[in-house]
Amino acid sequence: MAMFILRRVGVMILTALCLTFIVFFLTNLYPNLEKLAKTQGDFRMSDEEVASYLGRNGYLQPMAVKYGQWLGVVPGFVIEDRDGVTRGQCIEAGTAPEDAPRFCGILQGDWGYSTVFREDVGKILNDKLALTGKLMFWVMVLMVPSALILGILAGMREGSRTDRTLSTIAITTTATPEYVSGVLFIAVFASTAVGLKWFKGTATAAMDGANFENFFLPVLTIALYGMGYIARMTRASMAEVMTAQYIRTARLKGVSFPNVVMKHALRNALIAPFTVIMLQFPWLLNGVVIVETLFNYKGFGWTLVQAAGNNDIELLLGVSVISVVVVLVTQLISDIGYVYLNPRISVR
């Protein structure tokens, strides 16, 4: 088991390195750098001015060197500027060049500086992750129990009327992307023109004080899309378990139907949904981006859109590191959990 985890962690680090390099490569292509220079300076910069701006800020070094600097395995660049000031990646404003550390990258805990928000990337990510964590927590609280109940009720008696109805509901939720359900919910529950006016159409206020009125719609929107999928998996696995020999034996022994479901079937039926729930995280991340944009909730997903739209290289890299790590860690947990829950699977 230890060997298995170790190997998976190794692959994980390799994947993370490859992915960040791809993001790094794409954001550091010259047209993107030119756009960055123009948004930072002004839009009427000539080509020479763009080149000189990029040179002064260390953007024109070879790609591998820049990536090494960002990682923290290559010493940060130091450039003697035209006005005699020494500028460098690791030299903060107000400190002498001699006192600055040689390396400053991810490995040293320095995430870089966001050009859009004019703040340290580490701090931005910290704040935004807390906000998105709050959102995700409530999504999970709403999504997982309702999906499991839906799936178990449907799979309990396969082919019955309840099963048909619940399965159709599950299919409908998986067929409704967040930008559709979000728009429908706002139209029905939050529109000022017509509608019920139960909830708020934006969640900006929920960043400071979340309450039912301003936070329920975004949570519901994300939860609904993931719910259908988990419910269908639970239903399939429940239906399979219900046809097993030991369930029939229990029924023939005279155990009541609720007892069979609760005591005999449930635990075996929940192995498959567990993996699915873990693997839902990457998809939830997508939902988070859409919903945070739609409801103007300034969390992690909203930051991703801002960073990508403005080619904020270091913020975008930070965002991708976090999302890649989240995806890979959940995959690892789902693999390990699967092995623990299902003793028939062995790992070498």
Partner: protein, 394 residues
């Protein structure tokens, strides 16, 4: 003229869709009468869920083809703006501020006007065409890529499998929206990366077909040469035109911004297909008929393409339906974030994005495309469900 009442609006919309109803009825009558001769497609008509799904999908397919392709259902030009019609509700009589209105113009905006005074109904209809043009082909290409790589990965295993699976997981670990934001921007188009990606991805259908013919007719060289030759000539001609925009005859070309969208969608979908095909191959290669083929000395590609692939068709067909739906969702996502397609484009994602900004005041511009997208994807899901049920039955 007064605004129409809701019952009038519905009647008039039903009337506008007349060609679609006729086409749907013809399709269903024909399919019903020959359902015992049509294999799996015919069996679909035994399952109520499958039929409902199929009807919903075909409704939008016909709407797209007749509306976008032949200009039949639309009531107004999708790009024409009319200042007095801005944000007007459904059923408002059509007026123009400047110039005399065309006397032949349709007298109403059936579903109202959007924030620029364009007809919501027509945009919804043409939006179907935008999806029908891209989604099935993008899914098909993703399947070609996934199958061509997934079969050998599952069949041979070993280092090849490890390497390809690593690549697939690498792409899957990317949040889709981040990938879109990185790939589908005007700056990236300038660097030419989408063209290179298209050059690689669009090679796979040709490779797939050549392998298919070559492995089947290896023993009949004359027949094989004809098939492979035709595939290569037509394939490479289309390939040059679509991927490189360098068609020697000047007939085939592809709008660059559409190419980026297409490539991005194929790129995101193919790793999932790869994983499904790989899993199915690993399962099927242990069967007796594969062992029999190996014993009689068949070549690996023959076994993969003519023994394993046909036996994996059930799950693949089901996934194909689901994948078209997912591609539709992805296209909507692209439109929603204003990536790729032009801002004026009538595709559903862009229209929803335009409409949502005024959503608390005016509902009518955002809701029709939202319901349209919902019903198409729901139809595809129900169709997949029906297919799954019917293919499991035998």
């Amino acid at each position: 003229m007064d605004a129409l009442s809701w019952s009038d609006i519905i009647l008039r919309m039903l009337e506008q869709f007349t060609p679609v109803w006729i086409a749907l009825i013809v399709t269903f009558v024909l399919s019903f009468s020959f359902k015992r001769h049509l294999g799996l497609y015919g069996k679909l008509f035994d399952s109520p869920i499958g039929m409902v799904g199929y009807a919903m999908v075909m409704f939008w397919v016909f709407t797209g083809v007749f509306g976008g392709g032949f200009d039949m259902i639309v009531t107004h030009d999708v790009l024409a703006q009319s200042a007095p019609m801005k944000n007007k509700g459904p059923g408002t009589a059509f007026t123009q501020l400047m110039g005399t209105p065309d006397p032949n113009a349709y007298p109403y905006y059936l579903l109202g006007g959007d924030n620029l005074g364009r007809d919501v109904f027509s945009r919804m209809v043409v939006g179907a065409w935008e999806v029908i043009k891209i989604a099935p082909f993008a899914s098909l290409f993703a399947f070609m890529v996934g199958i061509t790589l997934g079969l050998p990965a599952g069949y041979y295993g070993g280092k090849l499998d490890t390497f390809l699976s690593f690549l697939a997981n690498l792409i899957l670990a990317f949040p889709v929206i981040l990938l879109f934001y990185l790939l589908v921007t005007p700056e990236i188009v300038l660097t030419g990366i989408p063209v290179y990606m298209a050059a690689v991805l669009f090679l796979f259908p040709i490779v797939f077909l050549v392998l298919l013919w070559n492995s089947r007719y290896h023993t009949q060289p004359s027949r094989r040469n004809v098939y492979v030759g035709i595939t290569l000539v037509i394939g490479l001609w289309l390939y040059l035109g679509i991927a490189w925009d360098a068609d020697p005859l000047g007939l085939v070309s592809f709008p660059p911004n559409l190419l980026v969208v297409f490539v991005a969608v194929v790129f995101v979908n193919s790793p999932t297909v790869f994983r499904i095909v790989r899993g199915l191959t690993m399962d099927i290669k242990t069967r007796d008929y594969v062992a029999a083929a190996q014993t009689r000395g068949e070549r690996p590609w023959y076994i993969m393409l003519w023994e394993i692939l046909p036996n994996a068709r059930g799950p693949l067909l089901v996934d194909f339906c689901l994948r078209i739906g997912y591609t539709t969702i992805l296209l909507g996502t692209l439109g929603f974030f204003g990536l790729g397609l032009s801002p004026e484009s009538p595709d559903w994602g862009s229209t929803i994005n335009d409409g949502r900004k005024l959503l608390t005041m005016y509902l009518h511009p955002a809701l029709p495309p939202a319901f349209a997208l919902l019903s198409l994807v729901l139809g595809l899901n129900l169709l997949a469900d029906g297919l799954r049920e019917e293919s499991l039955r035998d």
